[in-house]
């Protein structure tokens, strides 16, 4: 008897330790990156780092704006392409598709989600930049590749969410003479807004920090893009391209870790705000 109780106690303690470990990972990453960013934060004011455009590490000029704008452009374009396609696909799979179609397409969506970033990058180079109609290395190429990476993530979650809408509610709508699309639009989408928002946010955070695939097709020129046909240089690509050879330039490594801190803080804010919005929405529905 004692042995069994003891095993239970031991297991519980182990779980608590592991939970504490996982919780502290977030803290450690945040604090570690912040401490390492202190040198650059100490020598350059924050608004100079965030809002100037001159990037000359050897002269001590660290303006992150081109990289921030590069990230914004690529992520926004990917979102603009991926969100409508994902939602409509999910809606079709959940509401329209015969079981057979659904059973074939869902594994394909999962498969698409499992393809490694670097393969997306290789494909991007082959299909978008070197094909007959050359798009070149720019925001457009990055956005398209990123959109295809994000689509399976958003589609899979949105489909799950759409399927949780009770049949009664849908049938009630169909009964009063609404067409299938009207039911989808007014009933299914409306009652799963919170879940759809969560799916989109997850997709965005995936797109926002994606490194390899984007880095390979986006051109990597440190200038604020003015159209989707300009090259861009997103933050993750900046870190990946330069982190290996930063030791010779003072403050350079601190600057790159500051870029990592920026990514971390944005993801953190994104998730917290999303959680708050979801709570608000759920309270409104219930």
């Amino acid at each position: 008897m004692f042995g069994r109780r003891f095993a239970d106690l031991l297991a519980t303690k182990f779980m608590v330790v592991m939970v504490a470990l996982v919780v502290s990972i977030v803290l450690f990453v945040g604090i570690g990156l912040f401490l390492k960013s202190l040198p650059i934060l100490g020598s350059h004011p924050l608004n100079e780092l965030l809002f100037t455009t001159s990037w000359k590490p050897s002269k001590g000029e660290f303006g992150f704006l081109p990289f921030i704008m590069g990230t914004v452009w690529v992520t926004a374009l990917a979102g603009a392409i991926a969100v409508p396609i994902s939602l409509l696909t999910a809606l079709y799979l959940a509401e329209y598709a015969p079981e057979r179609v659904r059973a074939t397409v869902k594994p394909m969506v999962d498969l698409l989600a499992g393809i490694p970033p670097v393969v997306y990058g290789v494909w991007g180079i082959l299909a978008l930049s070197a094909g007959g109609i050359s798009i070149g290395f720019n925001v457009l190429a990055g956005g398209i590749v990123l959109a295809i990476m994000v689509i399976p993530v958003v589609t899979a979650i949105a489909e799950e969410v759409f399927r949780t809408v009770p049949k009664d509610v849908k049938e009630a709508s169909l009964c009063v003479g609404a067409t299938q699309w009207e039911t989808a639009k007014h009933v299914v989408i409306r009652s799963s807004l919170a879940g759809v928002a969560a799916a989109i946010i997850l997709g965005f955070s995936r797109a926002f920090g994606e490194t390899m695939a984007v880095l390979m097709v986006v051109g990597n020129i440190a200038r604020i893009p003015s159209s989707i046909f300009d090259a861009a240089y997103p933050l993750p690509a900046l870190i990946a391209n330069n982190y290996g050879e930063v030791m010779s330039v003072p403050l350079y490594d601190s600057a790159l870790l500051f870029a990592a801190l920026l990514l971390f803080v944005v993801i953190l804010l994104f998730n917290v705000i999303a959680r708050l919005v979801l709570l608000r929405v759920q309270r409104g529905v219930a």
């Binding site: 396609i85 990058g121 082959l126 390899m212 994104f270």
Partner: protein
């Protein structure tokens, strides 16, 4: 009336077009990679390590990267599993009745999930510098484990949550402790789902390049201890593609084909496993 019918048809066609785009993307990716990669693929690619001048187009293969990726993937998944399973169990109602606490842990896991792998890579490198470690298999495993923990925990959490409370209550009614119930009922019942989660995380681990870029390094040899640097398949693709030689770039496409084939294999086996194992699960 006509307008409504038109709207119905229009959106149905639009949805079909979107579905086509998604399916088409998958087919296009696999087709393009295989079309460029298969011609360059030969037995030497998967059975030899790079010889001198490999990156100039001379002979050799990428066995170092394939084995390295398997080491990294297996190691990281094992580490992540040992941490994730207890956390996933702890999130169930037997352990924490305080809803705010589970909510908080799940929020943190979502944050961890969202953290880009390049940030884990950079963070891992900082930690390694702090402890005076050099790029190594161990460093790569730890950085990848960070990446895999949220994936594993959240997917196991979802699976474990589906176990009906009747089943657990029956176990408790017989006098089993929480730990016994977890091991003998909950885990056994969710084994297919747990294995799927593990394979999913393993796939993510094998495919990720950004987190191992600064932590695992790259080498032409197969490491013999966890303190040696290790090559990985995604980085092999990336570096070969970065050379100016067409022969080497062709090998990058061949390497990408190998990576995609590996992914297909993982996904297929997880599907088969799921099918086979769910036979024995109480509904």
């Amino acid at each position: 009336m006509n307008r409504r019918k038109f709207e119905e048809t229009f959106f149905k066609l639009l949805m079909l077009a979107c579905l086509g785009t998604v399916v088409g993307s998958l087919v296009a990716i696999i087709a393009v990679i295989a079309w460029r990669g298969l011609p360059a693929l030969d037995l030497a690619m998967v059975t030899q390590t790079p010889k001198g001048g490999f990156y100039l187009g001379k002979e050799g293969g990428i066995l170092n990267a394939i084995v390295g990726s398997v080491y990294l993937g297996v190691g990281a998944t094992a580490v992540a599993f040992v941490i994730s399973l207890p956390v996933a169990l702890y999130l169930q109602r037997e352990y924490t009745r305080r809803a705010w606490l589970t909510g908080f842990i799940r929020l943190l896991l979502d944050v961890l999930w969202g953290i880009p792998s390049i940030v884990y890579g950079a963070f891992g490198f900082v930690v390694m510098l702090y402890f005076g470690m050099r790029v190594s298999l161990l460093g790569g495993i730890l950085a990848l484990a960070l990446l895999e923990i949220p994936i594993l925990t959240r997917s196991m959490d979802e699976v474990i949550r589906t176990v009906s409370s009747d089943l657990r209550d029956a176990s408790y009614a017989l006098g089993a402790t929480r730990w016994e119930t977890a091991i003998k009922v909950v885990i056994r019942q969710t084994l297919p789902g747990i294995l799927t989660a593990v394979l999913l995380a393993f796939g993510r681990g094998i495919g990720d390049a950004a987190s191992v870029l600064f932590t695992a390094g790259y080498t032409d040899r197969i490491p013999t201890s966890i303190f040696e640097p290790v090559a990985s398949l995604p980085l092999a693709i990336f570096f070969q593609l970065g050379t100016p030689f067409p022969e080497v770039q062709d090998r990058a496409y061949a390497s990408a084909t190998i990576l995609v084939a590996l992914m297909l294999l993982i996904s297929l086996s997880s599907r088969l496993l799921l099918k086979r194992l769910t036979k024995y699960v109480a509904k």
